[in-house]
Amino acid sequence: MNGFFDGFFDIPSDLQHSYQGLIGLHLREALLPVLAGLLLALPLAQLCVRFRWLYPPVLGATTVLYAVPSLAFFVVLIDYTGQTELTVMIPLAVYSLVVLVPAIVDGVRSVPQETLAAATAMGFGPVRRYLQVQLPIAVPAIIAGLRVATVSSISLVSVGTLIGNQGALGNLLADAQKYDRPELAVNSVITTAVLAILCDALLVLLRVVLTPWMPNGTRRRPKPSTRQKLPAPQDVTR
C-alpha cells in the first residue's frame, strides 16, 4: 500500500531538473520580471509625477494590459519569442509594471510638500532630492507594490507549463496529469505557495531594514489621518 506522499520529491526525468533545480528555475522566472518591472516602473512613475496629465492615460493603458489573461499573453508572444523562458517572463514583467507604477506614483506623491521644500532649502537639487528624500519616504508604498507583484509573479509562472514545459514548478502539474501522480500536483502547489510566502516575508523584512524611522511590529493604533494601510488592495493571480 503506497502512501499519498510516496514519490513526493521523485521528479520525472522529462523535466530535466531536480527539485532544487525547479525551485531555482521558478525563482528566476518569477523574480527577474519583477526586477525588470521595477526598473521600468521607476522612471515611468517619475514621469507621471512630474507631468500630471500623463498619469490617467498611463493608468488606463496599464489597466487594459492587466486584464489580458496570462495564458493568452504567452501564446501571442510565442509568435515572436518562441517557446522560451522569455515568453513567460515578458508578460510577468508587464504585470509587475502595472502593479508598481500606481504604487510608486502614490508613494512619491504622498511626500509632504513641507518636506520637499525643506530639502530644496537645504540646497538639494532635483536628482538628489528624488534619490535621498522622495524615494526613501516612498519605500513602504513601493514595497507594498513589490509584495503584490512578487507573489502574483511566483504564482503565474506555473501557467507557463501550458506553452511547453516553461512553467518550472508548474511543469509538475502537467506531469501529475500525464503520469497520474497527484502527489506531484500537491508538491507543486505547496512549494509555490511556500516560495511566495517566503519572498513576501523577505520583502517585509527589507521594508523594516530600509525604513528604520518607522515603528514596526505591533503598532499602536495611530490617529486616523496617519493610519498605516494594509498592503495595496489590487493583486493579481491568474
Binding site: A67, V68, V76, I154, S155, V159, I163, S188, R221
Partner: protein, 221 residues
C-alpha cells in the same frame, strides 16, 4: 503577422458569431462564471470585512489570511482540485473564490476601519444601535473604497475565469485554450481581446454603480 490583423480576422469570421462555440454563448458563460465567483467571494468577504472593520479587531489575522490566500497559485490549485475531485463547476469556483476573497476582505476592513470617527461617535451618542451605526453611518461612507475592492476582485476573476476552459468548461478561455492546441493564433488573440473588453466593461459597470450607489456628499470628497 500583426496582432490587429488577427483580431480583425477573428471578429469578421461569421462562423464565430453563432452556435455553441459562438461569441455570444461563450461571453454569456464567462459572465456567468465570473458573476457566480464574485457573488460567492462577496458573500464571504463582505460580512467578515464589515464586522472586523466595525470592531477594529483582527486586522493582523486578516492580513495573514490575505497573504496566505494570495500565495496559493490559482492555476496549480485548479489542476490539483480537478485531479482530486474530477471535472465540474465547483473545482473552477474554488480557485476563483480564493483569488477574489483577499482584495474584498482587506479593502472592506480598511474602508470601514478608516471611517472618520466623529460621525460614528455622534451616531453612538444619539443612541443608534451598533448594527444601525454599521449600515447607516459607516457603510455609506466606506462604500467607495469597498466598491474599489469589489472592482479589483471582479477584474481578476474575469481574466482568471479563462482557466475554466483548461478543465473543459466553456467561457472565453475556450478560444484561448483551443487556439493554443490548434495553433490558431487568430482564435487566441480574439479570445484575449474579448476578455480584455469584458474587463473594461466590468470597470464601466462599477463606475456606474458607484455613481448610483454612493451618496453625493461622500462622492465629493
Amino acid at each position: 503577422m500583426n496582432v490587429l490583423n488577427f483580431v480583425n480576422a477573428f471578429f469578421s469570421d461569421s462562423a464565430h458569431w453563432h452556435g455553441y462555440d459562438g461569441i455570444p454563448q461563450r461571453l454569456l458563460e464567462h459572465i456567468q462564471y465570473s458573476a457566480l465567483a464574485l457573488a460567492l467571494a462577496a458573500a464571504i468577504g463582505l460580512p467578515v470585512g464589515l464586522i472586523t472593520g466595525h470592531t477594529g479587531r483582527g486586522g493582523n489575522a486578516l492580513a495573514f489570511i490575505a497573504t496566505a490566500a494570495r500565495a496559493l497559485p490559482s492555476f496549480g490549485l485548479l489542476v490539483l482540485i480537478v485531479i482530486v475531485m474530477g471535472f465540474g463547476l465547483l473545482p473552477v469556483m474554488i480557485p476563483l473564490v480564493i483569488l477574489a476573497v483577499p482584495p474584498i476582505l482587506v479593502t472592506t476592513y480598511e474602508a470601514v476601519r478608516t471611517v472618520d470617527p466623529s460621525p460614528v461617535d455622534a451616531a453612538r451618542g444619539m443612541g443608534m444601535h451598533e448594527s444601525r451605526i454599521l449600515f447607516q453611518v459607516e457603510l455609506p461612507v466606506a462604500l467607495p473604497l469597498i466598491l474599489s475592492g469589489l472592482r479589483s476582485a471582479a477584474i481578476q476573476i474575469v481574466s482568471t475565469a479563462t482557466i475554466a476552459a483548461y478543465v473543459s468548461l466553456g467561457g472565453l478561455g475556450r478560444y484561448i485554450v483551443d487556439g493554443l492546441y490548434q495553433r490558431n493564433y487568430e482564435k487566441v488573440v480574439g479570445g484575449a481581446t474579448l476578455v480584455a473588453v469584458l474587463a473594461l466593461l466590468t470597470l464601466a459597470v462599477f463606475w456606474a454603480v458607484g455613481r448610483l450607489a454612493v451618496s453625493p456628499g461622500v462622492r465629493r470628497r
